[in-house]
C-alpha cells in the first residue's frame, strides 16, 4: 500500500485535485479507556470521509497503552488521559508533531438511577454506611477525583478503588454502589448510545469547579501510516469532531 501510494498514485492524486486519495491502509489509534465510546464513533465518521482507511481503535488504561507503544506495538495516534504518559512516549519514541488537546473531561458525582441512598452532594462520599466507589489513585480518573475532593475538603471512604473507569461505571450502573466519582463523559446521556450506561445519573460536581483532564492527540514519529495519522489528528479538531465530543459529554477547547 505505501509503495502504491508513493509511485503509481502520485499523478492520480494530483489529477483528482485532492490529497485524500492517497490515504489508505490501517490506522492504529490507541485511546484512553474513557475515550473508547466516542473514539469508535469518530473512527466511523473518519472512515466515511476516507473510505480506504481502516481505523483500528484500541482502548485501555493510559499506562498500559504507553507500555504497548514503548514495546513497539503498531501505533499511529496515541491519545492518553494524562500528560504523564504522553511525556514518556515523546521522550522515548518521539512524536511527528506537537500533541494537540482535542477534548477535556471533568469528574462528576454519579449515582445509579433511582438514587436509593439519597445522595445529594460530594459530602455523602464520606458516609461510611454507603457503598462508595472511586477510580484507583494510580489512574488518571482516580487522581483527578482525589485532587478535586481534597480541594473540596472531603475525605471519601471508598469501598472499592477500581483499576479502570469502565469497571467502576459498570458497578455503579448495576446498583452495586451508591455513589461514585466518574468522568462526566461516563454519566452523559448520549444520543448515539453510550453503551447502555443510561442507568447512571450525574449530579455534577457539587463543590465549586470540577477538576479537568485534557486529552491530547499525538502522532507518533515512527507511525507506520503517518499520512493517515496526521489526517486523523486534524480531523479531531474539526467542528464535526468537536460536536461528537460534546455529544458524549466532553468539553472541547
Amino acid at each position: 500500500m505505501p509503495f502504491a501510494a508513493g509511485c503509481a498514485a502520485g499523478p492520480d492524486a494530483a489529477s483528482s485535485g485532492s490529497g485524500d486519495g492517497a490515504l489508505g491502509g490501517n490506522l492504529h489509534v490507541l485511546v484512553a479507556a474513557s475515550l473508547l465510546p466516542v473514539a469508535q464513533v469518530l473512527a466511523d465518521d473518519f472512515e466515511q470521509l476516507h473510505p480506504d482507511v481502516a481505523v483500528q481503535i484500541a482502548g485501555a488504561g493510559s499506562a498500559a497503552l504507553r507500555e504497548q507503544v514503548l514495546a513497539g506495538a503498531p501505533a499511529d495516534v496515541f491519545i492518553p488521559a494524562s500528560a504523564v504518559h504522553l511525556d514518556a512516549v515523546r521522550d522515548e519514541v518521539g512524536l511527528a508533531s506537537a500533541a494537540v488537546v482535542v477534548a477535556r473531561n471533568s469528574v462528576v458525582l454519579a449515582v445509579p438511577v433511582g438514587n436509593d441512598a439519597g445522595v445529594t452532594s460530594l459530602a455523602d462520599l464520606a458516609r461510611p454506611e454507603l457503598l462508595i466507589g472511586l477510580c484507583a489513585a494510580e489512574i488518571p480518573c482516580g487522581a483527578l477525583a482525589r485532587t478535586g475532593l481534597a480541594q473540596a475538603g472531603i475525605e471519601p471512604v471508598p469501598d472499592t478503588d477500581e483499576p479502570n473507569v469502565r469497571a467502576l461505571v459498570t458497578k455503579l450502573a448495576a446498583g452495586e454502589l451508591d455513589a461514585a466519582v466518574v468522568y462526566a463523559s461516563d454519566a452523559a446521556p448520549s444520543a448515539r448510545g453510550n453503551t447502555g450506561l443510561d442507568a447512571v445519573v450525574s449530579l455534577g460536581w457539587t463543590a465549586g469547579t470540577a477538576p479537568q483532564t485534557s486529552y491530547a492527540a499525538a502522532v507518533l514519529a515512527d507511525a507506520p501510516n503517518g499520512a493517515a495519522a496526521a489526517a486523523f489528528a486534524d480531523y479531531l479538531g474539526t467542528s464535526a469532531a468537536r460536536g461528537t465530543f460534546a455529544e458524549f459529554g466532553f468539553t472541547v477547547p
Binding site: 488504561g61 499506562a63 498500559a64 507500555e67 457503598l131 466507589g133 484507583a136 489513585a137 494510580e138 489512574i139 471508598p158 469501598d159 472499592t160 478503588d161 477500581e162 483499576p163 469497571a167 459498570t170 458497578k171 448495576a174 446498583g175 452495586e176
Partner: protein
C-alpha cells in the same frame, strides 16, 4: 497420573521395569517442538527477571501495600482451596459414581468457570450475589450480608474459579480407582461413609493433594473474577494480582517485584508438587 497413583500394587512391577528401561532419544521433530515449548514458557520468566529492579527489591516487597496484599492473598487463597475441596470432592464423587439424567450438563456447568473469561464469571457472580442480585438482593434485605467489597467476596470469587480443577482431577482419580478395595471394605461391614473416609479418600490421596494445591495456586493468581465481584481496596480486597495490576499504572518496578514473587511462589510449588506426588521416577 491418576491411574498410576490409584492402584499402586497393580502398577508397581510395571513401573519398576520402566525405570530400568534405557534412556530413549526423541525423534528429531519431537525434540524440536519440545524445545520450542520450553522456550515459549521460559521467555516470559526471563523477561520478568530482566526487568526486575534487583537492588531495590526488598524495599518494594516490604512496602505496606505489598505486605497487606500478600497477607490477604494467602488467607483468601487457602480459604478458597478449602472451599474448593469441601465442595469439589463430593461433586466429583457424585459425577464419577452416580448415573443420573443430566449428568453431563451438571459436569459442564460446574466446570464452566475453567473456560469462562474470569471477568465474565465475576460479573455473573455480581449479578447473582450482589446487593441487587437475584439471590444477593433478598439475602441482603434479610440479613444485611453483603459479599462484594469484602474478603468473603474475594474467597468466593477465588473458589469459583478454583473448584473446577478439584472436580476434574478427583473425578478422574475416582474413575480409575480399583473398586475391589471398597467392595471388600463394604463386604466386611463398613458403612458407606466409613468406606469413603477410610478407603476411597486415602486411595485417591495423591490426586486429591495435587487437586487442592493446583486449586490453591489458581486462587492465588486469580484476578478477573476477584476485581469484578469483590472490587479493589487496599487492605480489604486487594490481593497480590490486583496490587500488581494497579501498581503497573504507577510504579512499574514495584509491579515487577511483586510479579516475581508470584512467579517464584507458583514455580516452586509446581516443582515441589512434581517431585512429591506426580509419579515421575
Amino acid at each position: 497420573m491418576t491411574s498410576a497413583s490409584a492402584s499402586q500394587d497393580a502398577n508397581h512391577s510395571d513401573r519398576r521395569s520402566m525405570r530400568r528401561s534405557p534412556q530413549e532419544l526423541p525423534p528429531w521433530p519431537v525434540a524440536i517442538l519440545a524445545a520450542v515449548g520450553v522456550v515459549l514458557f521460559a521467555l516470559p520468566v526471563v523477561g520478568l527477571a530482566a526487568r526486575t529492579p534487583w537492588t531495590g527489591l526488598w524495599t518494594h516487597l516490604s512496602s505496606r501495600f505489598v505486605v497487606d496484599a500478600a497477607v490477604l492473598s494467602v488467607v483468601s487463597s487457602v480459604a478458597a482451596a478449602i472451599v474448593a475441596a469441601a465442595v469439589g470432592v463430593p461433586l466429583a464423587w457424585v459425577l464419577a459414581r452416580v448415573d443420573f439424567r443430566g449428568r453431563s450438563v451438571v459436569r459442564a456447568l460446574v466446570t464452566l468457570p475453567m473456560v469462562l473469561p474470569p471477568v465474565v464469571g465475576g460479573a455473573a457472580l455480581l449479578f447473582a450475589l450482589g446487593r441487587r442480585g437475584v439471590v444477593g438482593g433478598p439475602l441482603h434485605d434479610a440479613t444485611g450480608l453483603l459479599l462484594p467489597y469484602s474478603i468473603w467476596g474475594v474467597i468466593l470469587a477465588n473458589a469459583f474459579v478454583a473448584t473446577p480443577l478439584v472436580i476434574l482431577t478427583v473425578e478422574g482419580a475416582l474413575r480409575n480407582l480399583d473398586r475391589r478395595y471398597e467392595n471388600a471394605a463394604a463386604t466386611l461391614g463398613a458403612s458407606r461413609l466409613r468406606v469413603l473416609w477410610r478407603v476411597t479418600l486415602p486411595m485417591i490421596g495423591p490426586a486429591l493433594g495435587v487437586a487442592v494445591v493446583v486449586a490453591w495456586a489458581r486462587a492465588l493468581g486469580e484476578f478477573g473474577a476477584t476485581v469484578t465481584f469483590a472490587g479493589n481496596l487496599g487492605g480489604r480486597t486487594q490481593t497480590l494480582p490486583l496490587a500488581v495490576f494497579v501498581a503497573l499504572e504507577a510504579d512499574r518496578d514495584a509491579a515487577v517485584a511483586v510479579s516475581l514473587v508470584l512467579v517464584a511462589l507458583s514455580l516452586g510449588l509446581l516443582i515441589a508438587l512434581r517431585d512429591r506426588w506426580w509419579p515421575s521416577r
